[in-house]
């Protein structure tokens, strides 16, 4: 069949490269669009990374002047930048720990129990996710203003816990819904009490969900600008530092730190994908 199928007798039609290219594009329009769209999504990220190696002539890191690694050697060089990053990490860690504990407990209650007020609780979790950030930040500020609370580190922490809780609940709940409760029943049948069952069976099984919630909470916290700007007083987080420098020209070290945050997040995400690939048996639906 191979030899007979060869279209030897057909005359070669002259097709201009342009027509060929157009035919190719039409056949692959969707793929071409998809790749272009991904390139569009990646473009600003590439700019951030590239300009972390730029050697700007003046204050403005806008035009390419030459390659240097000096910003990478001293990423916390500019005054206040190191402090701002330190504050962001401290706020992120505290907000993550508290919101993960509170959020996991709420998720357990919502999935495991039928109780009066379940609908209202769902609503209370859902609304902060959809409210515009500026309203969340502004309303929290009016609370602190009216109570005469001094703005600073702890008001930022409170704000971050507030907007992280809902995200943790949603993430952990997604994991709990697919949970096989027979495993717990088996442990109980074998004589484990409720608390042993929770620590030895339930917690390890929902740990990936809790970890995902924690990562989400931390990345939301470290990235937040809008809500933080309303409740920070004179304390500066990393995004607030960037904002304060935006008019005067942001130092290239900001690009270095932005690239670092990006790299850490991507490594964690890829590790998570690979982990899931290994855990999912071949042919199974993820």
């Amino acid at each position: 069949m191979t030899a007979a199928a060869e279209p030897r007798a057909l005359p070669r039609r002259r097709v201009s490269p342009l027509t060929k290219a157009w035919a190719f594009v039409r056949r692959h329009t969707l793929t071409v669009f998809g790749i272009l769209a991904l390139a569009y999504l990646m473009l600003p990220i590439a700019i951030v990374v590239i300009f972390s190696f730029n050697d700007p002539a003046g204050r403005y890191n806008y035009t390419w002047e030459g390659f240097t690694t000096k910003h990478w050697a001293h990423p916390f060089g500019p005054p206040f930048l190191g402090d701002a990053v330190g504050t962001s990490i401290k706020v992120g860690v505290i907000a993550t720990i508290v919101s993960v504990i509170l959020g996991t407990l709420v998720a357990l209650a919502l999935v495991r129990y039928h109780f009066r007020g379940r609908g209202a609780t769902n609503l209370l979790i859902f609304v902060p996710l959809t409210a515009p950030e500026i309203v969340l930040g502004a309303s929290l500020l009016t609370l602190f203003l009216n109570l005469g609370t001094a703005l600073g580190f702890w008001t930022i922490v409170i704000a971050h816990i507030m907007f992280c809780i809902s995200f943790v609940v949603v993430t952990v709940r997604a994991r709990l819904v697919g949970f096989d409760r027979h495993v717990e029943e088996a442990a109980m049948d074998l004589g484990a009490n409720e608390y042993v069952t929770f620590y030895r069976i339930t917690l390890p099984l929902i740990a990936p969900g809790i970890l995902a919630g924690a990562l989400l909470a931390f990345s939301l916290s470290i990235d937040d600008f809008v809500i933080t700007s309303f409740n920070s007083g004179t304390t500066q987080t990393f995004p607030l530092y960037v904002w304060s420098q935006a008019q005067r020209g942001v130092p290239a070290e900001v690009n270095v730190i932005g690239t670092m945050i990006f790299a850490v997040a991507i490594v964690l995400m890829v590790a998570n994908i690979l982990f899931q690939w290994r855990r999912t048996p071949k042919g199974a639906v993820a």
């Binding site: 998809g34 769209a37 999504l41 129990y113 507030m162």
Partner: protein, 285 residues
């Protein structure tokens, strides 16, 4: 412990208590104070007093109508643009992605891993007056030689589109990924053209994603002030810019709180109208 065993009904409430108390204290109560502040009058020097100052609202509407409409307009255009970019992209990933789906999906959420302000500043860089985008557009004649992109409404809308695109793409992807491809094949077996199969099967089945995506994009976009600040000028100021400067720079708290209340109510009203229009049962689907 025995107390808990005797009162098992208490368990869910004990689990809920800390988280719910926190949200009531720092989400619900602040909304009350936002309303309370919006009816106050005063300055930092003399203090603020609550005196049912309804003119905060009438002044807000009469003086900032332009910024309100501009916010809704920019957010609306950006939402539409994000939908037009995300739909083919997520369709491609969901139906042609094969085993690369998760990796391609990572590309969509990757922008979230670059600090919001930094990626917006990168757009400032890309759209700048001597940047390659403007040069290319001037070369093909789409923009005049003295024209610019940065500091125009186009730049602000482009920035909003980019920054909130993942909110559109993720729910779209989820609903497209769930579609049973045998339904599309069945439509084709019944002599539907590709276009018709798409319009009659794929598109309706992906509607929950479209609805969720448009809401998740429009709501934060309408309240945004970062893009207008970094990519625009005061002539592109959105309502978020007014609220931000009144709260944090001018300390005109009453007016700022009134503007926030109006923004919240307008957005809520639009959500309700929108879900009525498209039907909530689809949202649940």
């Amino acid at each position: 412990m025995t107390f808990l065993h005797r009162h098992r009904w208490l368990t869910p409430y004990l689990l809920l208590a800390p988280g719910v108390a926190f949200l009531i204290l720092f989400f619900v109560v602040p909304l009350y104070y936002l309303g309370y502040t919006s009816l106050q009058e005063g300055t930092v020097q003399v203090g603020y007093t609550f005196n049912w100052a309804w003119d905060n609202y009438s002044n807000a509407i009469s003086r900032y109508r332009e910024q309100f409409f501009r916010s809704l307009e920019y957010a609306g255009i950006a939402t539409l643009a994000a939908l037009l970019i995300s739909y083919p992209l997520t369709y491609w990933i969901a139906f042609r992605g094969g085993r690369w789906k998760n990796l391609l999906l990572l590309f969509i959420i990757a922008p979230f891993f670059v600090t919001y302000l930094i990626r917006t500043l990168a757009w400032q860089n890309i759209l700048a007056d001597d940047g390659f985008v403007l040069n290319a557009l001037q070369f093909v004649g789409l923009v005049g030689d003295d024209g610019r992109i940065l500091a125009t409404s186009t730049a602000v809308i482009a920035g909003i589109t980019y920054n909130f695109l993942p909110f559109m793409a993720l729910p779209l992807y989820v609903s497209l990924e769930q579609i049973d491809t045998s339904l599309i094949e069945a439509a084709k077996d019944l002599y539907a053209s590709s276009t018709k199969a798409f319009l009659r099967v794929t598109l309706p089945l992906s509607m929950p994603g479209v609805i969720a995506g448009t809401l998740l994009t429009f709501i934060p976009a309408a309240g945004d002030f970062i893009n207008a600040e970094l990519l625009g000028t005061p002539r592109q100021a959105m309502i978020g810019n007014v609220i931000q400067s009144k709260f944090l720079e001018i300390t005109d708290y009453g007016q700022a709180a009134a503007l926030s209340m109006i923004l919240m109510v307008v957005i809520l009203a639009l959500i309700v109208a929108y879900t009525r229009l498209v039907g909530t049962e689809r949202l649940a689907g």
